[in-house]
Symmetry: C2
Subunit: 233 residues, 2 copies
């Protein structure tokens, strides 16, 4: 008897951003594994056991989920955002590669989710409308002060090559009750505005900013016709 | 009286990848604008007029949608994948910036969707598990032969700096009935395998490939601990 493993993207926070496919997978799992705050977003369901763990135990969590699936269970590993972007899916496949050979034959389905990057971009317009690069700010495998120092160094570097008024977005806890979205300029951007729940979107010299007046947040967008447009998230 | 404009991401194809938020927006629109194949994915609904147009008329479509919203309608502009990634949201904001001042006060909501990039990555494992860059292969504003020539040049350049066995994924029409996903090596990658519905994911020297044996597609993943990992999509 062979079980199944679903690696399920829950999206950035608000469950309205869950897909139908993710919900269908959640509904058929007998066991759910995940970082406690992600597991807690989901309503409890009779017949579905919940295995919550600390965020730093990704590989152990993946191995426990795979072992249970190999016994025949329908197992879900839940992840915030998209499970493939700096999240649980890599840990699951690392566990498969380094685990028992039988795990390679398991049916594993990665179910994409709305990444924080896409949700944050949507809040301010369309800053990812042209080519962009995505860099992890996770402190999962390195200390947060090092992440902040690198972000600060990136701002310094970019100030030397981009106009001071280039927009920079700090989008924290997007779609969650304590969401906070600020648009500043590159000249005034400070790394310490970010915490672990923050997406930092850095525009380019071609990013457009549309002023909207008192009480309305400006819109940002990258023109599709950008010649050399590039945004980092 | 003020209307609303929703820019709605439909995801890569299969409507199971639609979010609840996107469905709720679709349900309340009196008018839907979009490229004909996207509009046709949606079931018809009494009370919702459908305005389908050609894919090359993005700005005109955005202006027509905004004009109707400014008259008080609840208007949806639908987009494949995520509307912010090389899609309709940029056109909407360009139309706002260059249109009547009153459009700046309109309530515009961008509703993210599962991008083809995320769906394609999920099919093969977790190739975007570490830092990556995203480059548009759209022929919307340039001829397709030029796009292919650039992709071929990129392969040539990467062959000079990456191992020949670096994996390259051609993922076409993901989640649609004619989905086709192939993993090849950088040494054998040919740009002509791609068409306009293809995501090309190029691994790095650190991308791992897990052989699974006869009849099962290999898994790819980027280790989260990658020092300099980088994948392009």
């Amino acid at each position: 008897m062979t079980g199944r493993l679903f690696v399920i993207g829950l999206g950035p926070g608000d469950l309205a951003l869950l897909t139908g496919e993710a919900q269908a997978a959640l509904d058929q799992c007998t066991d759910l594994f995940g970082y406690l705050p992600y597991i807690e977003r989901l309503p409890e369901r009779p017949g579905a056991r919940r295995h919550a763990s600390d965020n730093r135990e990704e590989l152990d969590r993946a191995r426990a989920a795979l072992a249970l699936a190999a016994e025949g269970a329908s197992v879900g590993v839940v992840s915030g955002g998209d499970p493939g972007v700096f999240a649980m899916a890599s840990a699951v496949f690392e566990a498969i590669e380094t685990g028992p050979a039988a795990w390679r034959a398991l049916e594993v389905t990665v179910i994409p989710g709305i990444s924080a990057m896409l949700a944050a971009a949507a809040r301010v317009g369309a800053p990812l409308g042209h080519d962009f690069a995505v860099v992890s700010l996770s402190d999962n495998l390195k200390p947060w002060p090092l992440v902040l120092a690198r972000l600060g160094a990136a701002f310094e570097h970019l100030r030397a090559i981009l106009p001071g008024e280039t927009p920079v977005v700090f989008a924290t806890a997007v779609t969650r009750p304590d969401e906070r979205v600020e648009i500043v300029t590159l000249a005034e951007a400070e790394a310490t505005r970010a915490d672990m729940r923050t997406m930092v979107l850095i525009g380019t010299a071609e990013t457009r900013r549309i002023p909207r007046g008192e009480g309305l947040r400006d819109w940002l967008y990258a023109p599709r016709s950008s010649g050399v447009g590039r945004a980092s998230a």
